[in-house]
Symmetry: C2
Subunit: 682 residues, 2 copies
């Protein structure tokens, strides 16, 4: 358009020049001849350039110039906006179509028609393993997929790492291992990883159970690891064999050994019963099938409540849902249940059901979510009160019968026994060791903790040969025994003080300040309690000698031990332990080139290579019914409604273990928004 204009104006200039209309300042006009009218003189009209051009051509042809065109119509702003919106919508439609077409082209490439006929080599010893070990069972020294292709073959000579369990600890470990360093075998009775924090959502259909599980073979595949679906039975620490069992094709249980160079025990936990009678009438919420059973039962109760033959009393009982335990699992289940009752039940079922439904939480402490910040407990309690979820605090369950819960509650100082009929009762209070973990603990004398396997701060199982066996996750806890290392600590100060005998040590303040970091390095959990070294020194220097002697130091460390809590049995902690262990194992394998890993070097190779494990509590979230509470920043809890719900979902979405899981979660939440929850059971 610009060019056109230039051309036109040049044309104009030439026309005007020809017509003697162009004058320059420098030239003085001579006495111009008078303008004589001629018949052929064209008239010049200058409203538009096209007319000028027309005029130029008309000048040549002596034609009358064309009439002026009408001015162009103005489009109103509204019409222009409409056009722009249509253009945008058109673009949107085209882009969505383009994405869909691209996807179909990709989809067409994912179908395989021809049969893969690949000759593979399978080691004979894998098909017919030799027998051995204390019980003379087959030993799986070589697995059937050990020779499949080059990458896997390279791992045959690597140290053998056996991981028991497919939960948070094990999966975090696997995902952080370097692929080329270990021959990894994962053994678990479940061939999937379960994203436990979202399990309450699966009990009512907000999410599907399949969206919470990831096949373990997808995870082990990334490090060319192997998976065996079997249950761990026992460990022979001297021969370095794990005994596992699985039901064979004939229906009989078969045992066999799996040899290891390093063993990681991440077998998790089972639900703690607290010795309460009648738990066979309760549901648990630990695994995928638990969620399915609960979901099926809830719908079944609804259907039975609709029958003409159900009496009023039976209906109220069927629709009474009781949760024993006011921790995050119980609270989230109650919240999810309420959401489903409020949003979907009324739409589909007779309304009388909604009026008769009741949800109860029986909590033995004085607040639900008592491990959270107090403000968050209060927020959750107020919310539940508004929603008519019945929260019974200071209530301890004595016994559970077929259709009612018998509990005691403190009322005005007195202990009153009460009954609560239920149609479904969820038991969600704490964890206990599995059968296997218990067996291991029994076989090692040093293991004294009734609730978990004890490890040192490097996560090495106490009692097993140093550096062979690790234990992470719910099944284990780090032993707090700072005080029992006092001799070791004082011995390490021999150079500084000049005194060899630890019982005779006397530490000055500056020497104390040198010792404290060594304690912190070995026991990172104690860091918090070793902040004010001056105050500690002053407090425990009882004889005011200006020095800390053996007894005084022992006392101090014992007091610190008492304050150290055992690690919480949460997914977060297991995840951190798994990550830590993976990083350490990555370093270990390169730490001693020339040294074979299974020649244990006297002394602490782990400590040489890596730091001790330190648990960093990153915070807790909980879902409380279209709202969420966040105990993330100490002292600054926040909670709220819908926006926090999205935040809560985003946190778990980001933490998901794979793209597949994320897509399934997103689709489930979308389905809930568009169509509500499915209320059917099969």
């Amino acid at each position: 358009m610009l060019r056109q204009r230039v051309v036109n104006t040049l044309a104009v200039r030439s026309v005007i020049a020809r017509q003697g209309l162009y004058t320059s300042t420098t030239r003085r006009l001579p006495s111009a001849p008078p303008l004589r009218p001629t018949a052929s003189r064209p008239t010049v009209k200058l409203p538009t350039q096209s007319r000028i051009l027309a005029t130029v051509s008309a000048a040549a042809k002596d034609e009358p110039p064309p009439p002026p065109p009408p001015p162009p119509k103005e489009r109103s702003a509204f019409v222009r906006a409409l056009i722009k919106t249509a253009a945008f919508a058109g673009f949107a439609g085209m882009s969505v179509t383009a994405i869909i077409v691209a996807f179909f082209l990709y989809d067409a490439s994912t179908y395989k028609e021809s049969v893969d006929e690949v000759d593979i080599s399978v080691p004979q010893i894998a098909l017919n393993p030799r027998r051995g070990g204390p019980k003379n069972l087959p030993i799986a020294e070589v697995l059937i997929d050990d020779d499949e292709h080059e990458e896997i073959q390279r791992l045959k000579t690597k140290p053998r790492l056996v991981v028991l369990g497919s939960g948070w600890g094990s999966v975090a470990l696997i995902k952080n291992l370097n692929p080329e360093d270990y021959h990894v075998t994962v053994i678990s009775p479940s061939n999937y990883f379960l994203y436990t924090p979202l399990l309450p959502s699966a009990t009512v259909g907000t999410l599907e159970v399949r969206s919470l599980v990831e096949p373990i073979r997808r995870i082990t595949g990334a490090i060319r690891g192997h998976f065996i679906k079997a249950t761990a039975e026992d460990v022979d620490f001297s021969e370095k064999l794990v005994e596992v069992s699985q039901i064979g094709p004939d229906g009989q249980k078969r045992h066999f050994y799996v040899p290891y160079d390093k063993l990681v025990i991440g077998v998790g936990s089972k639900t703690r019963t607290h010795g309460v009678e009648g738990l066979q009438y309760c549901q648990f919420l630990k695994d995928v099938n638990d969620a399915r059973i609960i979901r099926k039962k809830v719908i079944e109760n609804f259907e039975q409540a609709c029958l003409p033959t159900t009496t009023d009393e039976e209906r109220r009982k069927l629709l009474s849902f009781v949760v024993c335990g006011g921790g995050p699992t119980g609270v989230e289940f109650a919240a999810e249940l309420f959401d489903m009752l409020n949003e979907d039940l009324t739409l589909r079922y007779p309304r009388i059901l909604r009026n008769e439904v009741s949800v109860h939480i029986v909590q033995s402490r004085s607040h639900i979510l008592n491990t959270y910040d107090e403000a968050l407990s209060k927020y959750a309690e107020e919310r539940f009160a508004r929603q008519q979820i019945d929260v019974l605090t200071n209530a301890r369950v004595c016994k559970i019968e077929k259709d009612k819960v018998i509990f005691t509650q403190k009322e005005e100082g007195k202990v009153v026994t009460k009954e609560l009929p239920f149609g479904l009762c969820l038991w969600s209070t704490g964890v206990a060791p599995t059968h296997f973990a218990h067996k291991i603990a029994e076989s090692l004398e040093i293991q004294k903790n009734a609730f978990a396997l004890e490890t040192d701060t490097h996560l090495r199982l106490l009692g097993a040969p140093l550096g062979d066996v690790y234990a992470i996750g719910d099944c284990a806890t780090v032993q707090n025994n700072v005080a029992s290392h006092v001799v070791e600590f004082l011995q390490s100060m021999a150079v500084e003080t000049g005194i060899r005998d630890p019982t005779k040590q006397e530490l000055t303040f500056s020497q104390w300040r040198k010792l404290a970091p060594r304690i912190k390095r070995k026991f990172p959990q104690a860091t918090y309690h070793l902040r004010r070294l001056d105050r500690l020194f002053e407090k425990y220097d009882e004889d005011k000698s200006g020095t800390l002697d053996f007894n005084e130091l022992t006392k101090m460390l014992q007091q610190i031990d008492k304050k150290l809590t055992s690690l919480p049995a949460t997914a977060q902690r297991a995840h951190q332990q798994g990550q830590y262990l993976a990083r350490k194992l990555n370093k270990l394998v390169h730490a001693a080139p020339g040294l074979e890993i299974n020649q244990i070097v006297d002394g602490d190779l782990d400590a040489f290579v890596y730091k001790a494990f330190e648990y960093k509590h990153l915070g807790s979230l909980a879902y409380v019914g279209n709202a969420a509470v966040f105990d993330v920043i100490p002292g600054m809890p926040f909670a709220g409604g819908l926006v926090y719900l999205y935040l809560w979902r985003s946190a778990y979405f980001a933490q998901s273990v794979s793209a597949r899981t994320r897509m399934l979660l997103a689709m489930d939440w979308t389905k809930r928004a568009l169509f509500g929850r499915d209320l059917m059971n099969f």
Copy 2:
């Protein structure tokens, strides 16, 4: 810009006019005064309009005109293309973002926080039904949601339609009923509708079982219908009561009556055993749980095959999958299995498994898919041969043992007994009546068919009071008894022939041509066999009298009866019957205003109101492993690979029962494309 130009040129004109440059043809210039150079005469330069404007203002100010601007830079075609692509991508991104934001806004509106506190009225008699009927059970005359809101209350006075079953027939019926005409109660032991054709896909994880089911309450909700989850036990035709049972909250079975004005029996069928022994070792594929069990077992077999303790022979047996029955279900299952083995098994499991896997189909006829066009059978067989799926035809199963199938096969005229070890055996051969249907048939003397309840061509159950009870779907078939109506037909010709006694009737050809349409109208299935009336007349006029007498006509109709096949037990047929019945019921309720529906009018009200049922076979599809066969246009079958796969999927996608199901199917197929099938079991 246009306006600017107009203004500018006007300015130019005025400038030029003022300068005496404008001349018109009509005016003769007087002897113009000579152009005298004056110091103040401005110079006019016309290259650009801005310069003209500048000049205009300069004319006022006597300033030197500005220098000409440089010509604009040219962008290369490549850069322009790049810019356009970026703009398009930007638009695409913006549109997708806009869609997502809009969705989140919608999602935020779907959460309900406050408790719905609605007072509802529940009829007392619904809570405490009176007892009655032959067995003195509670009668559900009024349901607990009969008074919930105005729309439902209006239906209380409408005729009561009770539908037994929640399968294809019942759902097609419900979806085509007018909402305001009947008080509808659906009774079924399943509270979902299952999209059976896609069930084989759910056995291996191509689709999830949840994508194939739709909650029945969503479907009944559209016509304000009611649903009771119970099993039908018996029908009292005289009292018009259906006896149903359900397990109550106390674990005991409870029976009660549901009264009806019209009853529709669509209870479906169960798998036929053909009297073969050992079926407890087999899997069936009829319902959702069947698919789940099969899926779990397949994965379990894979896992067991990986164990070091599994011998070679055991491994081959575990990985041998046998399908008894070469109909669509069996063929599709084998095809889906093969797809999963080929596409996903090799990725995740040791490769030795792929080499040891074998799939077998045992078909008693000489071809698989023998009800389809022959070309399609051949296509499927060739395809399976290429894929090494072992198809055994002319093989009849004698007995099934715990881990092998014993069958006989015709080889070179002789019958040979063979064995086939299996890890999983699917039994998919034909249907048989349910316990309830069998009971009904026994109670009605006229019911003689061992396989299904017999109805007339108006789908009314033979033996029940006319017009009270209908039967559709797998549980029923239309009785082919054209010949037994010969008296009726001949009586109807009395006017034309003048002879009243049917046994003495003699029909001329033109009279025969008048009778034939009446036969076709009453028995639409016979239409095909009554095409060439001239040939038929000639053939059966045995005595060549030029007329058809009673015996000759009877013979003809008997021959036609023999050719009429019973209706196929397919989803398609049940669907057509359900639709047909809904349309007829819609008409019936308006056919006799003033007449109460439950006052049966003597004579055939159904025939008066609507035509007889005619089954139109729309064709059959089958999936044969990343390919599909289409027997849709008679004589023009087509089959092929990937494109037909998409066509097959589209057909089922379009036929889906709701938007929710369509979304779930699309998401499942997408998930398979992106992440493969899940290989885990729980």
